[in-house]
Structure formats: structure tokens, C-alpha cells
Point group: C2
């Protein structure tokens, strides 16, 4: 492998080819320290041309590539897996952002740009990029696209896919495909961009994108509500959709247990009592009538007997402190020790029975474990996390398998927004129809015949490596 | 071919295998009578199983398939092309619509469902399917998806692609891939649905879909405005985006010449004078404050000197008569004899120079021709149509080639929303980077190695046939 590494060093320069174990360590483990794997080197190219040349060298030497952005993934999609010769290719140095076009409502950014930075540039010209993630301060544009990231505003604005107008990618043989037209509408035949969105680097590496912006909304209303049970939460969602549906930007569900955890672990207090479920609802509009419409909707909800309690933020500061409750759920969970994260979506009408089954089976399987449930009810997306407590780690995969089995029975998805990565690939293979699996494998074979692109993640491979 | 046709007749029954030339004729020519081609037979399967079996028979006998929905396309994508043995497979009999889920906001429909009917079912449960096309009374769900149709509301809601949550397709070998989960969020690895959206049947046949619905908006404001020039129209778009951007549902541009045509050919009158460009602007919201906000935006536009004249509809009836002006542009054009349709998108800042170049070149190439320009300015999408007058038909392709060359020079797309079909495939091949073409061909080879799926349209083939 020395000629290979020498070639890379010549290409990237010694500062951007890391081979020292201490330098490499941060790239070889995900931020939750759930996944870890070896690599020959870390590559930090600074341009699309360098990515192309580096990928070409890897192809020539039969070395696999793990693309990495901000390393904020929750499914090990950017962490090496397996023992085959491989490198991590970090896009972190590619951080150029183009001048946004506020009327055309587009912005170009390289893969390594931090999402929050792109959002700030969009906001500076009076537009918004409404992809809103907990990790937006370190997640990168490339990672967000490669995993088709979700977040709290999907209900209104869609997933990352829905913001990609143009894409530049490097194919597994090093070919650069440059599709960076700043067009909001381009329907010229097969749209190859979608091969690379959400496929976690299985077909190539995203190096830059043109993103769609949306108009900004000047007013927002934020409410924290409590309801007695899940059917009431779902009926409340329907009521909001009926009355001010198109302004709804977030409709977040948090279990009462999760709120208690935030209170005890993080010292925050919820100004709303009662109920077994809490809802964090946000509506936004550029029209002045928003607060009155939200108020009227809440009154209708009280009259219909749907609400236990609730508060409507009277200031931006109050709105932020209500959001803080939701945003601290993950941190509160992490302070309780090891937990298993499940990122599922279900038809709303199956959700109640699904949660009851989980509860019953978990009690049998792991009596020391407890559920931590929250998520994006407006999208049918729940994070059904399991705080393990004294549960032996050895049964973790049985718990996850049980959750995923129940999701499949209910006609849901085992990855609503986090992606498969290495964490869910085996369960996806087990629970997905053969016709769908075969289609993925056929495309993988066509795009990456040597099986060198992010093996063991997202798309099952066809090479001997796997 | 007799055993082949006998097999099909046994499968479909004699009533749904058409071989009589008179019965076949309506399926062999597009509705504008621009394209026409031969076929061995017309197949009218009534179920996914019949589509699968029919496709299997075609594969076995090496017969190509032209899938057809409502036959409303503008690019000849659903009309046979070439002389190879082929059949037209009409989805028109597959018209089942599922019960919509108003809170989950999804609806399932078979490929042959008329778009307008699905929209009505959605509206009946208080939701909307905001894909709005002139042809919605005869276009089908399958055709809308296979061509990734656009329309007047793309600005706000996106293209057909953005509404597809689930898809059922029949692959070129007859395999059925069933992905009809009613989930608003499903991010489990490579999303194969996007192979089939917008690729005009090149990789398989769409037989059913789960579509995303949106909340309904109770109020709408419609205005007809006139401006002096294109830069003013673009600045006006920016002003609307700044003030009430997220409520903007349509921002349509119509040339003064096109308005004159509608007046003289269709007997409608525009209640607005002056200016070289007209704008039909629609905003919609569930909030009561909409009309006041639109009014205030118009006042700001007058103050900024952007408007020549304008009227804001005071009733739903007035709104409809303003829309009628826009909707009659195509009919007015068709009453002027033959015309060439161009469906281009451009960065807004390139649009002015682009239109000037077209005008100059057209005057040299075809002095008897005149431009008919209208479109979706909010999307950067113009229909730069050419009314031929006494221009000899023999130079039609030179005119179209000239328009497409100028689009390519300006970094635009030669198909913003209508698709490539057979009309634009050659120009797409001429004007598209080799890396992009090769990617499409690689996927075509993987998906349809025999080259039997809608040859000569949308995606260049790899078989001897083409």
C-alpha cells in the first residue's frame, strides 16, 4: 500500500493525508462512540479535482472509501466498517459558499459547508433554508444531502432531498459529474441527482450542491400543549391542519416521561401540567393574523375537549424556552447512560397499537429498560428510544430487532430520517421485499461494480468484501 | 408475432387488446397531432398483475412498450416512435382511488386515475393535491409521475416528484416492485422511486402511487398587473417574496402580445392596460389577513414605481376571469395555426438578454414567425413559443435548435416541466455533458438491458434499435 499512500501524499500534501493513529482517531469513531473501524489513512481534499484524483487512486488500488462530512450521523454511515483496505475521505475542507440569489431563491455550497453557516447566509439576504436539525452547527451540506436529513420542519418544508436543485458528484472511478445549474425547474429526462441523495455515498461522493431557498416568515407562534392520550394528539393535529394547516411548521410529540427526564436531568421546567403526552407546536407566517388564528385554534381545541393544559408563548424568549424543552430530550437521555435509538415512521392510525406492543414486549425482554419517546408526530415519525439502565448490552440487538419487527408489521419504516448506515443495514435486508433489495443491488452493481463506495452502509454491496 | 398477440389476447381478453387500425388510431397520435407512430397492438390491462404479465410477454418476444396515460403530453413521450416491433400499453383502465387519510395527509391512486378526480377526492376531505395543470381533466396520475409534471403552483408546492410518497412499478422483465407505504417520511437507504419519476417509462411502468396531500387554504387573492419591462417584473417578484412570500402560489408572466392574442382570438378582455408584460399573481392562505397583506404589497409596488397598472380581484368570480386570460393563452395560440412549443428555464438574471437574442435571431431566421411568450416567472420557467405563420415547416427544427442553443448558453434547461419525450431527446443529447449522458445510459443499461422500455424517448437507449 506504500505506493498508494505516496500517491495520495503527493496529491494532497502531507498536512491533508493523515496516517498517524492519534490524528486519525477522531475520524474513525462516530460522535456517539457506537461505531468504530480502521482505515489506512484520512484524506482531506480541498477541491473537487482533488476528490476526483483521490477517488481515482483508490479505484486503481482497490481501496474502499468512506466519505465523511461533519461526523454527526446517528447510524454509523460515515464510520469505517469491516477490515478491507479503506480510507476515510473527509469533505471538511471544502467550505466555499456562493453568493445567494434572493429572487431566484438559490444558493450554491460545497459539501463541507456547515449547514448553520449556509442558513445564516440565506437569512442575511431575507430568505431561509428551512432544514432544521439538532446537529446543524456541525453537520455539513454533503452529509445532509447524502443522508437526506430530516428535522423538525419536514412537516412543512420537506426533507433535504426537496432542497437539492443541483449537484456535483464524483463517481467511483473518479469521474466528476457537474450538475450545478441554479434552476428551480429542470425536467430534462432522468434526474440522476436522486441516485446520490439519501444513498449515503454508496454510488459516489457529493462535492457541491445548489440548494433551493424559501421566503422567510416574519411571525411565529409557539405553543406547548398537553393531551391525555395519543388519539387526542392525533385529533389535535387534524384540527390544526383544518384551521391553519399551511402555517404549521412543527408538530412535535414528547412523552410525559421524556419531559420529566428533561426536568430532572437538565433542570428545565415545563410550564404545562397534566397529560401523558406533550406537544410542541410551531406555526409561522408572514401575515399579521397568525397569533390570532393560533389562539382561535387553541380555543377550539379546548372546547372540543382535546387539551389538558397548554401555553402559548407571548414572546420570542418564551418561544425559545418552550423549544428548549424539546431540544434537551436527547441530552437528558444521554445523561441516563446507554440508550438505543430507533427512528421509525408509521401510519398514524397504527401508532397507538404499535406503542402498546413495544411497551409489552420490552417489559418481557428487558425489565430494567425504559422507553424514551419523542418525535415529529406531524410526519408520523417517532424516536422510540430505549434507555438501557441495567439491561445487559448483549441483548441490545434483540431489542432493536423487536422494535423493527413491529415497525414492519405496522407497515412503517425503520429509518424515517436518520438513514440506514451500518446500524440498520442488516435489519433493512431482513425486513425489505426481495424485489426492492434486488433493485438496490442492480443499481449498486451498475454504479460501483468494484464495491468500493462506503461498503457495509445503506446499500447492500455485490463484491466479495461484503 | 401471432403467438405473441394470441398470448396477449388470452391475457387481456379481446376487448382490451386492440389491433384494428381504427380502434388503435387514437393511441398512435398525440393530441396535438405532432407525433405519430405504428404499433402491433394497444394493450389495456386492468390490473397490476395484467401489466406484469403483459410486460413479461413483451420481454419474451422482444417487443418494445410505449406506456400511455391520458395522452396529454406535449413532447411525444407516449407516442410510438421508430419502426421496431412495439405496442402501446394504456393504463387508462386502472382507476381505483383509495380512501384518503386526512390527518396522515396521503391518498393512494392507480396510474390511470384522472388527476382532477384525485384532486376532488382530496378536496372532499378538506385537503388538497396542489398539482395544477391545464390538462388535469384528462392527464393521469401515472403520466403526471412519469413526466414529473409541473404547472402553475410549482413555485409554492413543487413538481409532481415532490408529492410521490409511495410507488408501485412494473420492471422491464415484468417484476412488480410494490412500494406503496403511506409514509410521509421514509429514509431507508437508496430511494428507488426516483428512478421512475420523470424518466418517462424508460426504466419501468408506474402502476400506482401514494401521494402526499397538503392542508387546504381557505382564502385566495388574485391580481392582474402590468409592468413596463422584464426587470420590473423580476423586482416585483422579489417584493412579493419579501412581504408575503410563503403565501405566493402562482407568479405567472404573460407578454402583452399574448394578452392581445387572447383578446382577439378568444374574445376575452383584460381589465388592465399598459406595459409590455402582464403578471397573474395568486396568493393563498388560511389566515384572514391575506387580502390586506396583498393590498399592502401592491401599494408598496406602486410606490416603488414597479407597476404600470393592476387590479385585485374582489370576488371569486373576478379571480376566475383573471385566471381565464392566462388559461386561454394556449388556445389563442392554437387558433393562429402551427406553432413550436419551447419549455425552458433560466436563471432570472439571464432572462432579459436571452429573450433579446431570441427575438433578433428569429427575425433573421423566420421573419414571418412571431413569439408567444408566457410562463411561470416565479420558477424561471418560460414557454417561448413560436407561431409560425407563413414560415416553412422545413425550418422548424432550426428554430427549435436555435432556441435550445441559446438556453444552453444561458445555463438553462431545454425542458423545465414538459419532459424530453421524442421531441427534445436529440437536442438533449447534443447539449448535455457527456458525463451526464453516460450516467443516464449506464442506468438504462442496468434497468432495461434489452432496450424495450419506451425507446427513443427521455433516456438514450443502448440497444441496436436506436
Amino acid at each position: 500500500m506504500q505506493p498508494f499512500l505516496d500517491g495520495l501524499r503527493q496529491l494532497l500534501g502531507p498536512a491533508d493525508l493523515l496516517t498517524d493513529p492519534a490524528d486519525m482517531a477522531p475520524y474513525l469513531t462516530d460522535w456517539r462512540r457506537m461505531f468504530s473501524g480502521p482505515a489506512l489513512a484520512i484524506l482531506r481534499p480541498g477541491s473537487t479535482e482533488q476528490v476526483s484524483a483521490a477517488v481515482g487512486l483508490c479505484a486503481q488500488h482497490g481501496v474502499a472509501i468512506v466519505p465523511q462530512g461533519g461526523n454527526t450521523g446517528l447510524a454509523g454511515g460515515a464510520t469505517p466498517q469491516g477490515r478491507a483496505p479503506q480510507v476515510v475521505l473527509s469533505l471538511a475542507r471544502m467550505t466555499a459558499i456562493g453568493t445567494p440569489d434572493p429572487i431566484g431563491m438559490v444558493i450554491e455550497a460545497q459539501a463541507g459547508c456547515i449547514l448553520q453557516r449556509v442558513k445564516e447566509v440565506a437569512a442575511d439576504c431575507g430568505r431561509q433554508l428551512p432544514i432544521s436539525l439538532a446537529a446543524e452547527g456541525s453537520a455539513t451540506v454533503g452529509g445532509v444531502i447524502a443522508t437526506n436529513a430530516g428535522g423538525v420542519n419536514v412537516l412543512r418544508y420537506g426533507m433535504a432531498r426537496d432542497f437539492v436543485l443541483g449537484l456535483e458528484v464524483v463517481l467511483p472511478d473518479g469521474t466528476v459529474v457537474k450538475g450545478l445549474k441554479p434552476l428551480r425547474k429542470d425536467n430534462a429526462g432522468f434526474d440522476w441527482k436522486h441516485l446520490f441523495i439519501g444513498s449515503e455515498g454508496a454510488f459516489g461522493i457529493v462535492t457541491a450542491a445548489v440548494l433551493r431557498l424559501t421566503p422567510a416568515t416574519r411571525h411565529r407562534s409557539v405553543a406547548l400543549l398537553s393531551v391525555q392520550d395519543l388519539p387526542a394528539a392525533i385529533r389535535l393535529l387534524g384540527l390544526f391542519q383544518d384551521r391553519i394547516g399551511e402555517t404549521l411548521s412543527a408538530f412535535e410529540l414528547i412523552s410525559a416521561d421524556a419531559i420529566r427526564l428533561v426536568e430532572t436531568q437538565c433542570g428545565l421546567g415545563a410550564p404545562v401540567s397534566g397529560g401523558s403526552w406533550f406537544l410542541l407546536v410551531e406555526a409561522a407566517s408572514s401575515l399579521d393574523g397568525l397569533p390570532a388564528a393560533v389562539q382561535a385554534t387553541l380555543e377550539a381545541a379546548y372546547e372540543a375537549g382535546l387539551l389538558q393544559d397548554g401555553t402559548l408563548a407571548a414572546s420570542e424568549q418564551q418561544a425559545q424556552s418552550l423549544w428548549a424543552l424539546r431540544e434537551h430530550v436527547t441530552e437528558a437521555e444521554s445523561r441516563c447512560g446507554k440508550s438505543l435509538k430507533h427512528d421509525v415512521s408509521l401510519p398514524l392510525r397504527r401508532m397507538g397499537a404499535f406503542l402498546e406492543s413495544i411497551q409489552a414486549r420490552l417489559a418481557g425482554l428487558a425489565p430494567a429498560a425504559r422507553l424514551n419517546i419523542f418525535g415529529h408526530l406531524g410526519d408520523g415519525n417517532l424516536h422510540v428510544n430505549v434507555i438501557l439502565g441495567d439491561t445487559p448490552l448483549s441483548i441490545a440487538s434483540r431489542i432493536t430487532g423487536m422494535v423493527h419487527d413491529l415497525v414492519a408489521e405496522a407497515g412503517g419504516s425503520i429509518s424515517a430520517e436518520h438513514g440506514l448506515g451500518q446500524y440498520r443495514l442488516a435489519d433493512w435486508q431482513r425486513l425489505t421485499l426481495k424485489t426492492e433489495r434486488d433493485l438496490a443491488i442492480d443499481i449498486k452493481r451498475a454504479m460501483d461494480p468494484k464495491g468500493l463506495m462506503n461498503p457495509g452502509k445503506a446499500v447492500p454491496g455485490t463484491s466479495h468484501r461484503q
